[in-house]
């Protein structure tokens, strides 16, 4: 990475690679953005491990920040270089997942939900309960993401448990087992979801809030997000600077740009996005914007549960459970 390049590692299609945004950033700072992508958090970590010095900015789900720090993959950030950092909502900025020994390892960017989304054509009135997923009427028209952690945490919510401290695993397993016959397929990318809705193959399924927003805003699909009364999984995505970055200044500039209200508003309007961690950015949205009105609703805030880091052992146990469920329906 030459000094003028900023190498960014992020999900594909997740804001940082929007052409208009890059153009604006490059114009403003003279840095050139080079994007690389990952398809799972594990893969992101592997890329960091096997490419020391290649990346300048990496987007990490806060639940994984811990691991990245432990492995010394990311370095502390001098937040004084980020003018917009001051506007980050304090509860996010102070998240113990991102701050260690007083040093900031991750700059909160956006947060969102893994909740439900529906095909508007299949519902006269949107459902309010997570149990809609088990409704016989939707048999064979339900989707869920092919991700063990999400599936198990979804099961925890459906059985009224704390996603970060699941006491009754058997109940989760039983609940998910009874969900399996409802399932059409397991989705793994936004595109899967959108195509299935477009061809009217599904009624309901788990979905990410930002993605549902994009489906509606950008692709004009009949999709709307449902935050069930039982609650939903919330996650926080943050930016970090990998150890060995050759362009820390550029990285800081980029991160600052990413949390800028101007960028955020444009992103939401043109493409659709999760909720910004920058309170000013959210306030810059129209009053009735979903990300402001619904996501900002204190009632919603009470229902959602933020993901905490999980251990490798837990992750493997979740995967084993998930795989067993998938084998059992074969």
């Amino acid at each position: 990475a030459t000094a003028a390049d900023v190498h960014v590692l992020n999900w594909k299609g997740y804001g940082a690679d929007e052409p208009w945004a890059i153009a604006a950033f490059e114009k403003a700072t003279g840095n050139k953005v080079v994007n690389d992508f990952f398809n799972s958090e594990q893969e992101m970590l592997t890329k960091l491990r096997t490419n020391p010095g290649l990346y300048d900015v990496v987007m990490i789900n806060a639940a994984f920040n811990d691991q990245a720090m432990a492995e010394k993959l990311i370095q502390p950030i001098d937040v004084s270089k980020l003018p917009n950092y001051a506007d980050i909502s304090p509860d996010k900025a102070g998240s113990p997942m991102l701050v260690r020994d007083g040093k900031v390892y991750g700059v909160p960017w956006v947060w969102g939900l893994t909740a439900l989304a529906i095909n508007e054509k299949s519902f006269d009135t949107p459902p309010t309960s997570i149990t809609e997923m088990w409704n016989e009427a939707h048999k064979g028209r339900v989707v869920i993401r092919d991700d063990a952690v999400e599936a198990v945490q979804f099961g925890a919510i459906a059985t009224g448990q704390n996603i970060n401290d699941i006491k009754d695993m058997e109940a989760v397993k039983a609940k998910l087992t009874s969900l399996m016959p409802q399932i059409k397929t397991f989705w793994s990318s936004e595109n899967d979801w959108n195509q299935m809705v477009a061809s009217n193959q599904i009624d309901i399924g788990t979905y990410w809030s930002g993605s549902a927003d994009r489906a509606k805003t950008h692709f004009k699909l009949p999709v709307s997000l449902v935050i069930p009364q039982e609650g939903a999984v919330a996650w926080l995505d943050a930016f970090s600077i990998p150890v060995g970055s050759k362009n820390v200044t550029g990285a800081e500039a980029f991160i600052n740009y990413m949390i800028d209200p101007k960028f955020y508003v444009e992103w939401v309007t043109k493409v659709g996005a999760p909720v910004s961690a920058n309170t000013k950015a959210v306030e810059a949205l129209p009053e009735d914007a979903f990300n402001r009105k619904v996501m900002g609703d204190p009632d919603v805030a009470k229902r959602i549960q933020f993901q905490a880091p999980i251990t490798d052992t837990q992750r493997e146990a979740y995967l084993a459970l998930w795989q067993q469920l998938k084998v059992d329906v074969k």
């Binding site: 299609g13 990318s189 195509q195 950008h218």
Partner: protein, 262 residues
């Protein structure tokens, strides 16, 4: 004679049915590259916007160029090395030959995902790193077993006394190979080359692990694009590639007889 004709006719019909099966998804792909909906939605609405968009998409174009270059180089290297190895395995007997032959299967049998990861780690460890060169290194290795298996299958049908005849006429090993053996196994070499090209050109997993931003290939681009939200630009570029290769191949078929004339 009558039955022969009927069978011949049925044979032709069968081939056309097979081609229909093989081309069905390709045709759909081509059609969808002209459809407005990025989600394969019907009814069909004609547009060329995706081709226009493709034209603007430098990343996709450069990835396509990388893919083509790597596939062509992979094909050449793996065909040369693979054919040479096949010849050696055919001509000579030595201890451990069975093992060498068995060693061709791990690259095929182990899911590419594992091989790709292994390459990533190993290349990282020994300092080869990632990038187009690493991709090429990996692709050739993946294609080699295909070439060797296919060329060996063809070699089994070769009559060794033809080599003897050529040598008795004073031809050295190389002349024998080039003028007698190669022409006979040519259909196998070509099939091997076509496979090698396919292995490389459609190689996602290994390329995915070995590519770096900017040094990436078309399948990696496509995979990434699909996650975001598929755009028919990908159908468009795929359609262009298929149409151009078809034209090239039919052109080649006119002038070059490699079906293995008797």
């Amino acid at each position: 004679m009558a039955t022969t004709r009927i069978l011949e006719w049925l044979g032709r019909l069968y081939i056309w049915l097979l081609l229909a099966f093989l081309y069905l998804p390709i045709i759909i792909m081509a059609l969808m590259s002209f459809n407005v909906s990025p989600f394969y939605q019907l009814p069909f609405e004609w547009t060329t916007e995706w081709y226009a968009a493709l034209w603007q998409n430098e990343q996709l174009i450069s990835a396509t160029r990388n893919s083509l270059e790597i596939a062509i180089i992979t094909t050449i290297i793996s065909v040369v090395l693979g054919s040479a190895a096949s010849l050696a395995l055919f001509r000579y007997d030595f201890r451990g030959k069975k093992i060498l032959q068995a060693l061709l299967f791990p690259p095929i049998a182990i899911p590419w995902l594992i091989t790709g990861t292994a390459m990533l780690i190993f290349f990282f460890g020994v300092g080869i790193g990632r990038g187009l060169l690493a991709i090429l290194l990996g692709h050739v290795a993946l294609a080699l077993p295909y070439v060797i298996v296919v060329v060996s299958a063809r070699l089994q049908t070769f009559a060794p006394e033809l080599e003897e005849a050529a040598r008795s006429l004073g031809a050295n090993q190389w002349q024998v190979t080039r003028r007698v053996t190669l022409p006979w196994i040519m259909p196998g070499v070509i099939a091997g080359g076509l496979f090698a090209f396919a292995v490389s050109f459609d190689q996602f997993v290994v390329s995915y692990f070995l590519s770096t931003p900017g040094q990436t290939t078309l399948p990696v681009e496509i995979y990434a694009a699909i996650r975001k939200g598929f755009t028919p630009e990908i159908n468009a570029v795929s359609t262009i590639i298929i149409v151009v290769s078809m034209a090239l191949m039919l052109f080649a078929a006119r002038f070059f007889k490699f079906g293995g004339g008797k």
